[in-house]
Amino acid sequence: MEVTIEFYGGLKQLAGASEWTLTLEEGGSYRVRDVLERLFLALPELRGRLTSLAFALDDELVGEKHPLVDGDRLGLLPPVSGG
């Protein structure tokens, strides 16, 4: 199955792209945390920022335990600075 990670704010510079698509083994059940662990392998600097990140799915904030399905687009949101 595939999950697309969307990088927001300064995370785009860290990732070198606005989004990545991860391919996960079929048949498994995955939560946000599982996908993050895969991401940390490629972006180890992200692990140190985990406590300041929020996650968005279907225009809602979700936690690390939230399940993911094929085709999901998961937003990684760094600390906000609007206004």
Binding site: G10, H66, V80, S81, G82, G83
Partner: protein, 157 residues
């Protein structure tokens, strides 16, 4: 939900917001406008880019409007934020509050912009005169406890 009601990629239209919110029950109209200024932390700023998680930002601002109206008992609270590249002096955000009397109008508008800065998934990218640019530090978002699934749930519809 039409996200354009809260998030726009073109210059904001205050007159349209005032027309939309016209209400003869209200004797007070409070407008807050945020504009791009030319310096930050001792650095000369040339322009600003605002980025948003558009769908979540729209939902967040819609909820903030409702919450502000209820909390301060004001009939009108409208918020619009612009995204994209803004020049110095351009308006990034409007908060428009109308209330019967001025005290609640002042308080509601202040609350709305203070909360917006803390809860809305929007990011400032500053562009400096020396050619450098940076995303500004900000406030971490927090998911509400009700949004977390129970440990036993492993699937979604």
């Amino acid at each position: 939900m039409d996200a354009r009601r809260w998030i726009r990629e073109e210059p904001l239209n205050l007159e349209a917001l005032l027309d939309e919110t016209d209400d003869v029950r209200c004797g007070a109209l409070q407008i807050f406008a945020g504009t791009v200024r030319d310096s930050n932390d001792g650095r000369r700023v040339l322009s600003m880019t605002y980025e948003a998680h558009r769908g979540l930002a729209a939902r967040t601002l819609e909820k903030l409007e409702r919450e502000t109206k209820q909390r301060f008992d004001v009939p009108v609270c409208r918020i619009q934020h612009r995204t994209g590249h803004l020049a110095l002096g351009e308006v990034s955000v409007y908060v428009v509050v109308r209330a019967p009397h001025r005290a609640s109008a002042f308080e509601a508008a202040r609350y709305a912009i203070d909360m917006l800065k803390r809860v809305t998934p929007i990011w400032k990218h500053e562009h400096y005169a020396d050619g450098d640019s940076q995303y500004l530090d900000g406030t971490p978002l927090r998911v509400e406890p009700a949004s977390e699934p129970s440990p036993d749930s492993g699937s979604r519809p």
